[in-house]
């Protein structure tokens, strides 16, 4: 039994550049984000910008924002960006990548944008094997428009347009577009991650980096789904919402790689 012993060091002694273990990425602009407290959009923005910074490609990448809560991502991500019409981000990204094949290109889309109104653009971009990355935030709801049912809303889950719980008989089943895209020959890397715990944040960040490395190899479409939350429209506190992600969302949308290219 070792006796407790206190070592006291002054703040000043610790707060020194050489002791810095974490500070936000410079590619994330230092302004408050409009997202709600605890929203996974913020976390995902942050870690993706960490990846861009670590890869040193902030001048080599062009992003596309959707219509959804992340429509304003271009306020925060300090890289060249375009804002696309609702659901058309994959078409816009196709236009960009086809004329600038040497740049990294990504879209950032919510479930309504990517898997409802954008289904055709999303699937055909993947099927053509367009060489860009889609960061697909699946929070099972329409956030920006304040809580309507999304294609990914869970069975029985309440939203403003499924006030008595999603009825799969009349409103359809949750659409696992990620699994669909994994079946298409045009997709190279398809994975599902989350950002609701520190460990998952670390994994998600790795996946995002891997996706961009695969983009460099030009072997096909990359899709990183982030199973996320929407505390405001789930009518939960951020902590409750992460619990819901853990206990309800992830069992239905299991995490992990779905399609990985055999690396040469």
């Amino acid at each position: 039994m070792s006796e407790i012993e206190t070592i006291s060091v002054s703040k000043e002694a610790i707060i020194k550049p050489e002791n810095l273990v974490y500070s936000p990425p410079k590619t994330l602009l230092d302004i408050p984000m409009h997202y709600c407290p605890g929203c996974g959009h913020s976390t995902t923005h942050k870690i993706f910008m960490e990846v861009v910074e670590e890869m040193g490609i902030k001048n080599e990448i062009i992003g596309v924002t959707p219509v959804g809560c992340s429509v304003f991502a271009y306020y925060y991500l300090n890289v060249d960006m375009q804002q696309a019409a609702h659901g058309r981000a994959c078409a816009v990204a196709t236009g960009i990548k086809r004329v600038l094949p040497d740049k990294y290109v990504f879209t950032y889309q919510g479930d309504g944008d990517f898997a409802a109104i954008g289904t055709s653009e999303s699937i055909h971009a993947a099927n053509r094997g367009e060489n860009f990355l889609v960061i697909f935030i699946n929070n099972g709801i329409y956030g920006m428009t304040s809580g309507q049912m999304a294609p990914t809303t869970l069975p029985g889950m309440i939203s403003t347009t499924s006030p008595y719980g999603r009825d799969v008989k009349t409103q359809g089943h949750p659409f696992k577009i990620t699994e669909v895209i994994a079946t298409l020959p045009g997709s190279a890397y398809v994975t599902r991650q989350s950002v609701h715990t520190t460990a998952n944040v670390r994994k998600a960040k790795k996946a995002l980096r891997k996706a961009l490395e695969i983009q460099k190899m030009n072997i096909g479409f990359q899709l990183v789904e982030i199973v996320s939350n929407c505390p405001s429209n789930w009518r939960m506190t951020p902590l409750e919402s992460n619990k819901f992600v853990e206990e309800q969302m992830i069992p239905f949308y299991p995490l992990g790689d779905i399609k990985v290219p055999e690396v040469k």
Partner: protein, 77 residues
């Protein structure tokens, strides 16, 4: 034997009081303040001076409010 001593700096005006850092911290270093910031949020603050600089709070913080420093102090035998 070595010991890690941490210090964190929280940008309280950016903080939205989501509490994710609080539960992420293994040392229970953090808690919400009783006062609110300009945006009306109760913000996170250090309540126990036992931070080890593990950076969990900073990694989980959605709004990139936290900067973490860590110093490893060696005990001379």
């Amino acid at each position: 034997m070595a010991k890690a001593i941490g210090e964190i700096i929280i940008d309280i005006e950016k903080c939205k009081g989501c509490e994710l850092c609080i539960v992420a911290c293994p040392e229970e270093t953090l808690a919400l303040a009783n006062s609110i910031n300009k945006k009306g949020y109760r913000y996170a603050e250090v309540v126990v001076d036992n931070c080890t600089g593990c950076a969990n709070c900073a990694i989980i913080c959605p709004d990139a409010c936290i900067i973490v420093y860590r110093l490893i102090v060696k005990k001379s035998a």
